[in-house]
């Protein structure tokens, strides 16, 4: 199947909002542009084969650093204003330049066949007379700069003594590039709009979740644990980006969708949704899922547009041999729809939503890897659970496990971090209870030996 068709189908079938579809790259329109351009070129005798040959020659000359023998070149000029002039006036001005020897009127190339050469000569005379799109460059003083080319700072064109630069009048390529450039700008604007919209949604949802998980409200007690579990699974799913040592890359849309599905099914298998009793909680969860789905769609949309751009440039080159696939992307920043949006939104989700529910991983003791209860803050500011520090002191291990300062040695009751303690008690009531029981058990064993059990056993 042709890509143009696939592109159209995907835009139609994947449920993108109509506003997005309108902003998509107009592949078929651009394709028609290319066809018109090919016609224009072949009327001049510049069929792809001829052009390829000529441009190949240019490359060879470039490699040999003798660019004053260049027969012609294709420039994408005027790109600089793209960022500032978003008004739509095409800043792109591609030019196909031919160098004609002024004295003889000969084209600077032996590789053209008679017909093409003739046509181009006519063209040179033609346009020279009508002065329509001829770039006339003043002659160099041959004495000052013998046979050297200099850059004309105004347009980036090279001036060459004894040669007149003639621009081949083409209109379809201007149309092609201005359309494409305008569409890319449009895509970028769309992305910014989407980002703003999603930011608003995320903020609202963040506030809702903050209210629903507020540990000061009794009704929320169970809910806090549920949300925490959901967010824990969410974070571990690494949906949009890897977060491990070995993998921290962005995912493509396919991988992201797969991970999102897995996240959704994990939540389902833990029956977390069933435990949400109140309507407002379910609504918040749905909103959370929707934000993620929205992002996934943005990712997909960005990807197919990117493919469309690459394909259309490839087609342009194939049909005209003007070699823009390499130069065009350097001229213009492709708005990385997907990645930008994903990064921005993920950061937002982190700060606005996930942060409302503290994660246990941020409050574990580096020794037992359990919750740091009761928290003791050493002089070096490192926090561990009291149980591990007691063991260390008993073993006469005096140095902080993290910084090796001799701070375990003189830790005492004053090092208890009361503020941290009340925070942990508030946000992790279940974990604190468990750890408290465990600490007591271990203390009992220290005193009475391995047989000690928590419960009082009456024989």
């Amino acid at each position: 199947m042709k890509f143009g068709h696939i592109f159209k189908e995907r835009l139609k079938s994947e449920g993108f909002p109509p506003e997005w579809v309108e902003s998509a790259i107009s592949y078929s329109q651009l394709k028609k542009c290319i066809n018109r351009l090919t016609n224009e070129l072949s009327e001049l005798g510049l069929d792809p084969q001829t052009l390829r040959q000529l441009l190949k020659k240019v490359e060879d000359f470039n490699a040999a650093n003798k660019d004053d023998d260049k027969p012609l070149e294709y420039l994408l000029a005027g790109q600089a204003g793209l960022g500032e002039q978003q008004g739509g006036t095409a800043p792109f001005h591609p030019m196909l330049l031919v160098y004609v020897n002024e004295t003889t009127g000969e084209l600077d190339s032996a590789h053209l066949n008679e017909e093409t050469r003739h046509k181009l000569q006519l063209l040179a005379i033609d346009t020279g007379l009508s002065d329509l799109r001829v770039v006339e460059l003043p002659d160099e003083e041959p004495d000052c700069l013998p046979s050297r080319t200099v850059n004309n700072s105004a347009g980036g064109l090279r001036r060459r003594p004894g040669y007149r630069t003639v621009e081949v009048p083409l209109t379809s390529d201007i149309e092609f590039f201005s359309t494409l450039a305008a569409e890319l700008v449009g895509l970028e604007e769309l992305q910014e709009r989407e980002q703003r919209r999603m930011r608003g949604e995320i903020e609202r949802l963040g506030k809702q979740i903050a209210r629903q998980t507020d540990p000061d409200r009794r009704a929320n007690k169970k809910l806090l644990a549920i949300w925490r579990q959901i967010f824990q699974i969410y974070v571990e799913s690494d949906i949009f980006f890897g977060t491990t040592e070995s993998d921290h890359s962005a995912r493509d849309s396919e991988a992201a969708v797969e991970r999102f599905e897995k996240f959704a099914s994990t939540i389902a298998s833990h029956h977390l949704v069933d435990q949400m009793k109140r309507e407002e909680n379910l609504r918040a969860l749905t909103a959370f899922m929707d934000i993620n789905r929205n992002l996934l769609q943005g990712l997909r949309f960005g990807e197919i547009n990117r493919i469309a751009m690459t394909k259309i440039l490839k087609k342009f080159d194939k049909q005209t041999a003007l070699g823009v696939k390499k130069t065009f992307p350097q001229r213009i920043e492709y708005p990385d729809f997907s990645q930008h949006l994903a990064r921005a939104v993920c950061a937002e989700v982190n700060t606005q939503i996930l942060s409302h529910v503290p994660r246990i991983d941020d409050y574990t003791c580096a020794m037992c890897m359990d919750i740091q209860w009761r928290p003791v803050r050493l002089r070096c500011q490192h926090v561990f659970c009291i149980r591990c520090l007691i063991v260390m002191q008993t073993n006469k291990q005096h140095f902080c496990p993290l910084c090796r300062e001799k701070t375990v040695f003189d830790a005492n009751a004053e090092n208890l971090d009361l503020e941290m303690a009340s925070f942990l008690k508030k946000w992790f009531p279940d974990e604190v209870k468990l750890k408290q029981r465990h600490n007591q058990l271990m203390a009992g064993k220290d005193e009475y030996g391995e047989v000690y059990q928590q419960k009082c056993c009456v024989m």
Partner: protein, 149 residues
């Protein structure tokens, strides 16, 4: 005795996020005993070799370091004939915040940077100091012979 939470967590993470070039798998019947393999670091005489080790977590781990020993024969100034390793963090410089993965990384680094001035295998260290090139060649040869992947 029940397995402490710390060992469970460490094992889980080792399985879920293995370190490149290192594997550590606990025995089914003794979750404190691990079969370990370490790949010889690139551009060291041990490159291309896969070395087997055993690792045991004593009862008071992490207050005391894990016990680790090479099972594969290796020609290295800081590793003796019995596979015992001379590495500060496995002895006096152990910290309870270190983990299985960090210790195995240190051992891998030790393969990349032998230290003949703090030897365990005296004869090897002696050779290493006298004729380093010959010692490295022997290490290569031992790797080829004994540490086949």
């Amino acid at each position: 005795m029940a397995l402490p939470k710390r060992i469970i967590k460490e094992t889980e993470r080792l399985m879920a996020e293995p370190v490149k070039g290192i594997s550590a798998v606990p025995h089914e019947d003794n979750l404190r005993y691990f079969d370990v393999t370490i790949e010889g670091p690139e551009q060291s005489p041990y490159e291309g070799g896969v070395f087997k080790l055993e690792l045991f977590l004593p009862d008071d781990y992490p207050m005391t370091p894990p016990k680790i020993r090479f099972l594969t024969k290796i020609y290295h100034p800081n590793i003796d004939r019995l596979g015992r390793i001379c590495l500060d963090v496995l002895k006096g410089n152990w910290s309870p915040a270190l983990q299985i993965r960090t210790i195995l990384l240190s051992i891998q680094a030790l393969l990349g940077a032998p230290n003949p001035d703090d030897p365990l295998a005296n004869d090897v260290a002696q050779k290493w100091k006298e004729d380093q090139n010959a010692a490295i060649e022997t290490a290569r040869q031992w790797t080829r012979e004994h540490a086949k992947p």
